[in-house]
């Protein structure tokens, strides 16, 4: 088989980003795993688009392959077929300009809150004084003023997750991939962090892909909710959430008219049955 190599790639240059291309396009991605000689299809045929400045939430039944999807998007696993393109260019390996946040805060216990936030900047070679200043600004924006010199073990779960959020946002990613980042928090803390996240993200016009099992969280924060089917995963339904595009108050969003209706319809789509 003769390999066709485009001149740009052969020259070692990255393919240029297309102007105006959506941050993330997933087209007909499929992925199966080999389990004891049997082929188990995890992702059936999945297509979705994340537009600039948009918050998209993905919900699905347990075990529907959300983690596989995320790993495929991050370039940690290659799909069997289909394409993943970031900003109009097909990706190989780790996409640039993407920030991640997981349910585990993954803070380094030997670093103070400030130094945890500085981690990404340090890695990229930003000068220490600049990194320190930007990290301080980020912590202040997330309501952690005065906690910069605290070690993670002395912070509450909500504060730790705020530090993790600051660590992600301080790198100014174009796209945020959030994998159930608020799932381990208590209800009140969760609403407050969701609101702060929505505010910071919408102010800076960043795009967000939020993977969650929490339908209410999805409806309250997202512009669009994509419902996945059971395995092999495909898109079952897409909801445009018309609760106002500049929502930053998650408590108000949950009280707005129409909220309960969306939640009920998505719940029905998930088709959760007791065995």
């Amino acid at each position: 088989m003769s390999a066709v190599v485009s001149p740009a790639i052969a020259a070692g240059a990255r393919p240029p980003a297309q102007a105006g291309a959506p941050p993330l396009v997933v087209a007909h991605v499929a992925k199966s795993f080999d389990a004891d000689g049997r082929v188990v299809p995890v992702i059936g045929d999945l297509s979705l688009t994340l537009n600039e400045g948009e918050i998209v939430a993905i919900v699905g039944p347990s075990g529907c392959g959300k983690t596989t999807l995320l790993n495929t998007l991050c370039g940690l696993i290659a799909p069997d077929s289909g394409r993943v393109s970031w900003f109009g260019r097909e990706m190989s390996g780790q996409p640039a300009g993407v920030g991640y946040m997981l349910q585990k805060d993954l803070l380094l216990p030997w670093r103070t809150a400030l130094r945890n936030v500085m981690l990404g900047l340090e890695i990229r070679g930003v000068s220490l004084s600049e990194a320190e200043e930007r990290a301080h600004v980020m912590l202040d924006q997330l309501g952690l003023h005065g906690f910069a010199d605290h070690y993670p073990t002395t912070l509450s779960g909500g504060m730790r997750q705020r530090v993790a959020l600051a660590r992600t946002l301080v790198n100014e990613p174009d796209v945020l991939l959030l994998d159930e980042p608020f799932a381990a928090l208590d209800f009140q803390t969760k609403l407050l962090i969701e609101s702060d996240t929505a505010k910071l993200v919408r102010e800076s016009r960043r795009s967000v892909l939020l993977i969650t099992h929490d339908i209410e969280e999805a409806v309250s924060i997202a512009d669009r909710v994509i419902v996945l089917s059971k395995r092999p995963t495909r898109v079952k339904a897409i909801y445009d959430i018309a609760l106002g595009t500049e929502r930053t108050d998650m408590i108000a969003a949950r009280e707005s008219a129409g909220f309960v209706d969306y939640v009920r319809r998505i719940w029905a789509d998930l088709d959760v049955t007791r065995n």
Binding site: L102, L106, L108, L119, I123, R124, T153
Partner: protein
């Protein structure tokens, strides 16, 4: 509060706050007192146990010359300690063994930890050398002593070599275990932040392994001391091992015990120093 000239409402307002604060402060103080009492009780029991043991030993050997010869007596041991302290041999022997132990401890741990951590870099290399490490680790160091004396002579170097060999494999294994035990999610996080392999190593793997490395340090203080003493047993002119060996050969059993007491004291001091350094290097461990 009774008979206060303030109106009842103000009394209640002022009272609730300060009363609650007082109660909390009192509870905290009581809690501290209880904890202090508990640790004092433990300490008192330990001292009582030791005193009872020494008294029993003294009593059993006081009227029985045979037993006094075989087991020594605490008063005779104390007497030897005083003599050895006044003629200076106690300090010189402790100093010599201390230097041997400390140098063996440092050299062994630096080499072992460097190799153990750098094995994190290559799964392939670590798999290749694993059986050799296990084989080397299972050699009783004492069996190497005659060769070590031939190679390094009868002076300080051979004792340091013995001590180093007792330490190095343990340090290698504990630091490697720490390095490969780093959370895979944490490594992925470093990757998504754009870290190179060296940055992951320096900013994540090394500090994350410190807990295991220090556990190895605490373990190897004793091993380093054993190595030094065994080296002195084989051939030496000074050191606590030399004192023990010589006194034992001459059947001066209280003197053996006197040197042993000094050895124990040396081990305790070295362990204490390692603990202090650990607290200094890992301030986050004191919290939470």
């Amino acid at each position: 509060m009774n008979g206060s000239p303030l109106p009842p409402r103000a009394v209640a307002d002022a009272g609730i706050d300060s009363a609650a604060e007082n109660a909390a402060a009192r509870r905290l103080a009581a809690h501290r007192r209880a904890r202090l009492c508990a640790s004092l009780l433990v300490l008192a029991s330990q001292i009582a146990l030791l005193a009872a043991f020494i008294a029993f030993w003294e009593y059993m050997t006081a009227f029985d010359k045979q037993a006094a010869f075989m087991f020594g007596s605490p008063s005779a041991i104390a007497g030897f300690l005083l003599t050895m302290a006044s003629d200076g041999s106690l300090w010189r022997d402790t100093y010599v063994t201390g230097v041997e132990t400390l140098l063996g401890f440092l050299v062994g741990n630096v080499i072992g930890t460097l190799i153990g951590l750098s094995l994190w870099y290559s799964r392939f290399v670590s798999r290749v050398i694993e059986p050799f490490v296990i084989a080397l680790g299972s050699i009783p160091i004492i069996a190497l002593a005659p060769i070590i004396i031939i190679w390094f002579g009868t002076g300080l170097t051979s004792k340091i070599a013995m001590s180093t060999l007792s330490v190095v494999i343990v340090a290698l294994v504990t630091s490697y275990k720490g390095a490969v035990g780093v959370d895979a999610d944490q490594i992925n996080l470093m990757r998504t932040l754009g870290a190179s392999k060296f940055q992951i190593f320096r900013k994540l793997v090394v500090p994350a392994s410190l807990t295991d490395i220090f556990a190895g340090f605490k373990l190897t203080v004793g091993f380093a001391l054993i190595g030094a003493i065994v080296g002195e047993f084989m051939s030496s002119s000074e050191g606590l091992g030399h004192a023990i060996f010589k006194a034992g050969s001459l059947y001066i059993i209280p003197k053996v015990f006197a040197a042993l007491v000094a050895t124990i004291a040396l081990a305790l001091v070295l362990t204490f120093i390692v603990g202090k350094v650990e607290k200094l290097l890992m301030p986050w461990r004191r919290l939470g």
